[in-house]
Symmetry: C2
Subunit: 322 residues, 2 copies
């Protein structure tokens, strides 16, 4: 069993896989041969012999070209839209992602994001910049209505945080499959849900079906007292339309953690849109995420060797895109 781990040069050190970390997670009984390289300094011979490739933000065409024996490719991210379609995967190889590892952190992020937006935090930070005392009292958040787009690990964490704060939650998902915990509508009913939402939270994968889903039309359906949060992927929201709505007071506020281009470019109009708070893609990531991701890999490597490859954890459906 040859495992090839590739680190992306320049990425946040929190994502770097060290050989020691991999050895501490991959069962030593598997006697795996582990190679750890930077993306700009590959070991092409080791790549050619790899059974397993693990990385984040990697160049899948290059991987496919050199690593033709692969049986498993593991993404250290949950969002894998950049690798779609999966037609580059060697035939018979599986692709797994890291969905689920972000749920705890996402729940904590939502636990502050929702009542902070409700209290008017963007208004306060703007007033602080202008050395202005802008007092406006708000009641409690309990009883407000939150619509969450997506009900996977991330959307589930959003719903959990919201319910703990006393909000009513409605989920909008691809299938609309019922949940015992909340009302669920399929994506075709999004337009009917939006006018009832005090909060709209985007927590779904980026797929052809969700790209641009929250555009000018959807935003216009939200009440002017509503706030929008995006912890999913930037391109699901048309930020030009969102910023226009905020500037014209057609929305109460927004908190964006993900963007079309990251890092958010210095000249982006998003930075100083009134009522909009920016956090730099921190909603779902914690310093131990890479270790959590590799634990999924560790369990899957065992399954490969056990001959139970059909039961791989977090296998991505290339057609659905997650």
């Amino acid at each position: 069993m040859n495992i090839y781990a590739e680190n992306l040069r320049g990425r946040d050190p929190a994502y770097v896989m060290s050989e020691a970390l991999l050895r501490s997670i991959i069962d030593p009984e598997l006697k795996a041969h582990i190679t750890v390289r930077w993306n700009d300094d590959p070991d092409l011979r080791a790549l050619a012999e790899a059974d397993v490739f693990v990385g984040g933000g990697f160049d899948h065409q290059r991987v496919a070209k050199h690593a033709q024996r692969l049986r498993l490719v593991h993404s250290t991210s949950a969002g894998i839209e950049r690798y779609l379609p999966l037609d580059w995967l060697p035939s018979g190889a599986a692709f797994t992602n890291s969905r689920g590892i972000h749920a705890e952190k996402a729940r904590e992020y939502m636990t502050w994001a929702l009542p902070a937006l409700h209290a008017g935090l963007p208004r306060f930070t703007q007033a602080q910049n202008e050395r202005r005392w802008d007092r406006k009292l708000t009641g409690l958040i309990a009883g407000k209505h939150l619509a969450v787009l997506g009900l996977g690990a991330l959307g589930g964490a959003v719903a959990e945080a919201a319910r703990a704060l006393g909000l009513r939650v409605t989920a909008v998902t691809r299938s609309g499959k019922p949940s015992p915990m909340m009302r669920v509508f399929s994506i075709e009913h999004l337009a009917a849900v939006l006018p009832t939402a005090d909060f709209l939270v985007v927590a779904c994968p980026l797929t052809p079906a969700t790209r641009g889903l929250i555009g000018a039309e959807a935003i216009a359906r939200l009440p002017s007292t509503a706030s929008v949060i995006n912890i999913g992927r930037g391109p699901i929201i048309d930020t030009t339309a969102l910023c226009a709505a905020l500037s014209q007071n057609r929305l109460a506020g927004a908190l964006l953690d993900v963007f079309d281009v990251e890092p958010l470019p210095t000249d982006s109009p998003i930075w100083d849109t009134p009522g909009l708070l920016v956090t730099p893609h921190v909603s779902c990531d914690a310093p131990d995420n890479i270790s959590r991701s590799l634990q999924i890999l560790g369990r899957n490597v065992k399954k490969l060797l056990d001959g139970s490859a059909s039961q791989l954890e977090n296998r991505v459906d290339g057609d659905l895109g997650y």
Copy 2:
């Protein structure tokens, strides 16, 4: 039974007592005579005949001069430091405050304030101002240690919010009276508690014993990774020392909701201290607070008439100052 309610001109409309609101709360069977006036347009005859005075931010010397029949003075605030000492009270009259009405809102404020500070929100808002992507991942807040100054209604709400987020809580109070819910130290042990705190939250009344309690010396005892929150009263913290510590990276962050002078003056150095977030005295106030305060008054007026004046709710101890 004559009730005289005085509104403070220019105050937030949320605090204004209308005659209709008072009539809806004071039991009609009491056949109370209710007078509602602005502070700059008093009815001195009605004041002279008042049994009960209710107001917020009132001139107690003026009230004492004109209203010599008073049996009860009710403050619509919880903090009553401005009326101390209570030697102006007509002999035999009781003074009550509105402690307790702020607890729910305070709990919600703390529910966002703590994880937001933990995530580095002041850093993010500062970076946003500068159109700068400043990513730093943090883990979960659970297990961090919070020291709360005061364990009245407000401090209790802080402790409750913190425990729900998974923090360990230590309270520091005047008496150090034990609690089944957490460790409690008397104020003499503050210096020993500070070096162990990840968060220091000020939630006690302003008294001669607490004024300036969190000064340069106390702040120097906090770890450089600690954050400070003040939802009590401004003068409990020496903000000059606090801002110096933040500017020199001797503290991680701060969230101030109360100030020595409110509104915070435009030229205050607090506005642009790095790592410091300002909210405009909204942590504990909700639009329905005035109605909650008057409900305390309504119950107390009944007790006065029942002859159970010794059981008045929220009676202030003039010696303790709360």
